[in-house]
């Protein structure tokens, strides 16, 4: 079977060459790599190619340039917070790969969640570690009003946007007009929602540029020796493990290297598991800003997103699988910042020695100790480091950074 598939791929490669789609026959580098990976590993690696283009029809300005400009201004705007000192960028710092480098996020106070990086967040199926938001725009609204994060209010946000000449002009550019009266609750809520949609238009462009691994995958598809050399042998070995016997690919697959769903990976904890996805589903279904609510620009699509959600006891302790692009630069790790380094993460998966006694998740058998050797750990780490992209595009940085 494997031989037949390999021959088929080789034949296909020859066919591409004969039609001029592949300028040269696959060289020895490609042949060696093809022999190094099984058919399944090969297919899994190829499936990581090319990030999809994000879209959100519940946000009518998601692709709008003026909304992006407003969103960029708002993202770096500390006046959205209750004390005027915290912005989205306080925790999602572009210089720190849209995270903060801390185990636990600190807004007005420390909270019990690690700040996830915003890289590729527009491609998530669900937002937050517990998935309690179904769009970037509805996600963006929650930290603003969270008493420990930004401590702001929709009323104060609406006042700021409508009274500040620069923000008001940007808002008018993005949405055509701005309410004159702020004393009506509907106006306040409408402006607040548009703030979220503008923030999402900005965050939707925070997409990882091409990584060495992407270049390598391109090489696998084209045979280009230069692309194939983008990964050193240790990282190639790590890729083989990651998409093979280490079984990382079970949850970390596809272009994001995430299944975008929720799992209990047996992290150390004190006491019973947190509500996690179980609580997230309940919050999502009752969120007035979800995709099927009155503020959605595509209620039908929003209904479809939420139509088949289930809620079950095993979801307690299950957190969202993060994407792995730029993972080497976004320490600490896990929803609670439990691990300070990739080495610690890999050690957990290797031994599960710090896992709590099994309780609710007895039936799940996804996670088993990897028992990785030192050289395998180094190879896996080298592969994860090869998922690092160049820094954010300058257009995503503040236009007039305040000193």
């Amino acid at each position: 079977m494997r031989l037949a598939a390999s021959l088929a791929i080789l034949t296909a490669a020859g066919g591409l060459a004969s039609f001029g789609l592949w300028p040269n026959s696959p060289g020895p580098e490609w042949q060696a790599l093809r022999a190094q990976f099984s058919d399944q590993q090969w297919a899994r690696i190829i499936r990581t190619a090319e990030l999809p283009t994000p879209n959100d029809s519940t946000n009518g300005v998601f692709h709008d340039e003026a909304a992006f400009v407003l969103g960029r201004a708002l993202f770096y705007e500390t006046r959205l917070s209750g004390n005027g000192e915290v912005s989205c960028a306080s925790c999602h710092d572009p210089a720190l790969d849209w995270s903060d480098g801390k185990a636990l996020a600190e807004g007005l106070e420390e909270i019990d969640r690690h700040t996830p990086s915003l890289w590729n967040s527009a491609l998530n199926r669900w937002q937050f570690w517990d998935g309690r938001a179904d769009s970037l725009w509805s996600q963006a609204l929650q930290p603003i009003e969270h008493p420990k994060e930004m401590g702001g209010s929709r009323e104060e946000v609406a006042k700021l946007v409508l009274n500040d000449p620069e923000l008001r002009a940007l808002y008018t550019d993005a949405f055509g007009s701005a309410p004159e009266q702020m004393d009506e609750p509907n106006n306040v809520e409408r402006v607040f929602v548009q703030v979220g949609k503008a923030l999402a238009a900005f965050e939707g462009r925070i997409l990882t540029p091409v990584t060495p691994f992407d270049q390598f995958v391109s090489g696998l598809q084209t045979g280009d020796p230069e692309d194939l050399a983008a990964l050193d042998p240790l990282a190639v070995e790590g890729a083989g493990l990651f998409f093979g016997e280490a079984r990382c690919h079970l949850c970390h697959h596809g272009p994001l290297l995430s299944d975008m769903e929720f799992h209990d990976i047996e992290l150390p904890r004190a006491g019973a598991p947190e509500p996690a996805r179980h609580g997230g589903v309940a919050k999502l279904l009752t969120d007035p800003f979800n995709g099927r609510g009155q503020h959605s620009d595509d209620v039908e699509a929003g209904r479809e997103r939420l139509a088949y959600l289930n809620r079950a006891p095993h979801q307690r302790g299950e957190w969202k699988t993060p994407g792995l692009r730029n993972v080497a630069r976004t320490a600490p790790y896990m929803h609670n910042g439990a691990y300070a380094s990739l080495d610690e993460v890999l050690a957990h998966y290797s031994t599960l020695s710090d896992a709590p006694a099994r309780s609710h998740s007895d039936t799940q058998r996804v996670l088993e100790p990897g028992h990785f050797s030192d050289s395998e750990l180094q190879a896996l780490k080298a592969f994860l480091q090869a998922l690092s992209s160049p820094p954010p595009h300058p257009s995503l940085l503040p236009v007039n950074p305040k000193s």
Binding site: H253, A307, Y308, Q364
Partner: protein, 163 residues
């Protein structure tokens, strides 16, 4: 659940997605008297019917799209042979090697009966979010009357699916 007895013209009005319409047309056959029930369209293998655990019904299925994509929503068309009892269907997925199921609860709605009298159903909301061996689990329930009393009967059939 009431079985649909609509004409082909009416059925077409109920199908909102043009892509779905195309696939259903190819998959299930249609008013033109093409292959009924049509499993095997869209490049799919012609799957044999499989009996439920008590043998009351026989079931087969096709996916839309084919093959089933990893971590992307898909739909199923189910075909059921058996007694005329207006069955209610449930569909679910399970990974026996992992000990967990899907992250969604699919919904089953009836389609127009096939030309051989087989009942057909559309399953929406399927998602196999992980690669590997899945079980496609179909449950069929129906009302069984005996004199003045009735009971709810239930039978199951499981298909093994590798994605």
């Amino acid at each position: 659940m009431i079985r649909l007895k609509n004409s082909c013209r009416t059925r077409h009005k109920k199908v909102r997605s043009f892509g779905l319409l195309l696939v259903l047309g190819a998959l299930l056959g249609s008013c033109a008297g093409q292959r009924q029930p049509g499993i095997g369209g869209d490049g799919q293998p012609i799957r044999a019917f499989k009996d439920t655990d008590q043998g009351t019904f026989s079931v087969r299925w096709a996916s839309i799209p084919h093959p089933i994509p990893i971590n992307e929503p898909f739909e199923l068309v189910l075909e059921v042979l058996g007694p005329d009892v207006n069955p209610l269907l449930e569909a679910d997925g399970w990974m026996p090697g992992h000990g967990h199921g899907m992250v969604r609860t699919p919904r089953v709605t009836p389609l127009e009966d096939g030309s051989m009298g087989e009942r057909r159903f559309l399953v929406k909301g399927m998602l196999f979010h992980m690669e590997g061996a899945w079980e496609l689990r179909i449950a069929i329930a129906w009302r069984h009357e005996q004199g003045d009393t009735f009971s709810i009967q239930r039978e199951n059939v499981v298909f093994e699916v590798e994605i």
